[in-house]
Symmetry: D2
Subunit: 186 residues, 4 copies
């Protein structure tokens, strides 16, 4: 029986694909920051970067990156059968498989992630815009949606996380108030 691929191997390969195709985790974190800072002024780039890294730990996200980037590269090398070759090469507007693949990633991070993905797909910013701008022979039909999916997932994750932090602070503040009151009362 063929040896099973280890999770570590899959993860490293997915991260390498992103890097090889010109996408850094910082690029993705910047999008997350831009999407989420309006809801929380104290948000830091470190939190965004950490959220992107956490999202990239997920097996199904790594698998989607491997598949999407593979298809982009094969299209660049003109190794796909027609009419798929032309559809992917020209980033045909009604194709839909690129978004379907990316949406699969996003769903796990709640409805905020899903709506953020939809927004990023229409109003491309940062590295997504750069990828979407056709330049010469590069094909990024899947990659721009994957990056939008990762950024959207990390955004959804942060929205939930910040709520937990806020509630923790409220709880502590409340406990401090109670302690203060106790002192005053006694």
């Amino acid at each position: 029986m063929k040896k099973r691929v280890s999770s570590e191997e899959v993860k490293l390969a997915a991260l390498k694909r992103l890097k090889d195709r010109g996408v850094t985790l910082e690029d993705i974190a910047k999008i997350v920051y831009e999407m989420q800072v309006v809801y929380n002024r104290d948000l830091t780039m470190e939190q965004c970067l950490e959220s992107v890294q956490k999202v990239l730990e997920k097996r199904e996200i790594q698998h989607a990156i491997l598949v999407g980037v593979e298809l982009d590269i094969l299209a660049e090398k003109k190794l796909l059968q027609e009419p798929l070759q032309t559809i992917i090469e020209t980033d045909e507007g009604l194709f839909g498989v690129d978004e379907t693949l990316a949406i699969g990633l996003v769903y796990g991070y709640g409805s905020i992630a899903l709506t953020t993905f939809g927004y990023l797909d229409k109003d491309k910013i940062g590295i997504i815009k750069k990828l979407d701008t056709k330049n010469g022979k590069k094909v990024h039909t899947f990659l721009d949606d994957l990056v939008a999916g990762i950024a959207a997932s990390a955004s959804g994750r942060i929205a939930h996380l910040l709520r937990d932090v806020e509630e923790g602070e409220e709880k502590r503040a409340k406990e401090n108030d109670e302690k203060f009151n106790e002192i005053n009362v006694s």
Copy 2:
């Protein structure tokens, strides 16, 4: 055995709920127009309205309207148990059930519909903006997402339809060319 509800009855009830809550089909068609005219300058309001009507023929969309509006009304009347009452009444940002319900509608109309929904959820326009603006006692926690879902579905439907029309014209143009050539040749 209890009598089954007829499809006609469900449809009429869903349309009535929209109207009773202040949403006309024209309001929704306007959003569709705004979202799609950038891709097709010849788009007409009639086409958008017809697309909205077609989308509203779908049983699962009618059901979602009945459920969502019912919850909005019950929240207005303060008839829900806590903490659900407060969550819906305040349109709690991390609630998510309103978007989940609406996304269910949208999926059937392809990835364009899904990304349009995400966009409308973030960048509220027209009647969606009006519904989202809290005024006094009205609760529209579900309705604004439902309307975004219907508009997004109708947008996705139009994108596919217009392609069919374009191709039909190309085909006819090509046939005309061929006929013309035949004439010239003969």
Copy 3:
């Protein structure tokens, strides 16, 4: 600018891929029949076949077939980069991209289609079972899920259609009753 691929071309290519990989529309219709006949004894194979054909008219379904079968073939020819090559070749259980792609198809046909897909993915029947049984060098990692997705979509479509037919008959029966009563009354 590169010429756009016509819808007709995409459709024919998708149907050809299915045939080339050993899947007939009748094979898929048989699964639909088996899944739906329990809910309606009068169901015919013709209705199931027609439903499969209608589902295959959808652009996004045709695109998913083109992508999935391409990846299966590339894996057979060992033309994918590692670790993706091994993951697809061995139909790795936690891969998930195959199901994500197929679920994208299914969503448009309502929740019955979605649950039917889940069922078929676990309890493989007919041609899906045959495809899933590894024999020698053939890779069907994507194809078995695509077929399950098409069958599930056609099943969901039929469930809704049969309801419409039933209601049409009830309506006619009721009208006949009313006419009969009118006659009796007069």
Copy 4:
């Protein structure tokens, strides 16, 4: 401004709703065990129970429980407007909103969770079967799907977790082998 509901309050309310409607976490864990033990003979009920508890920590799952159970109870008390009252009371087959709500939960746990949900929806086992069996005045239209959704999510979670455990053991075994070899070599 109205006080925000705390996450703790939402969580406790969701768990209470399940209990009040006759569903214990053990009931759900039993379904998880039955679905997953075929893939791993060493699976324990404790692992399944822990997985169910983890899934129930998720905000969006708690929200879905609050909404679904509320609608079941309102239908029992005949407090919904027609035709929604009849649709929910009779668990109308083409309703779909119950499954849409539950599928929202499931998506976050990968494609295994989604196909397990589809399976459980068709082949009801354990507490789901019990809930689905109409007895007198109880309405469980949403609850049976919610329980299937929680069980499916916990199943997907376990499938991924067990892989991590296996790989950890393989890694340790390999390291032990290497140490052993080192000793032998020296």
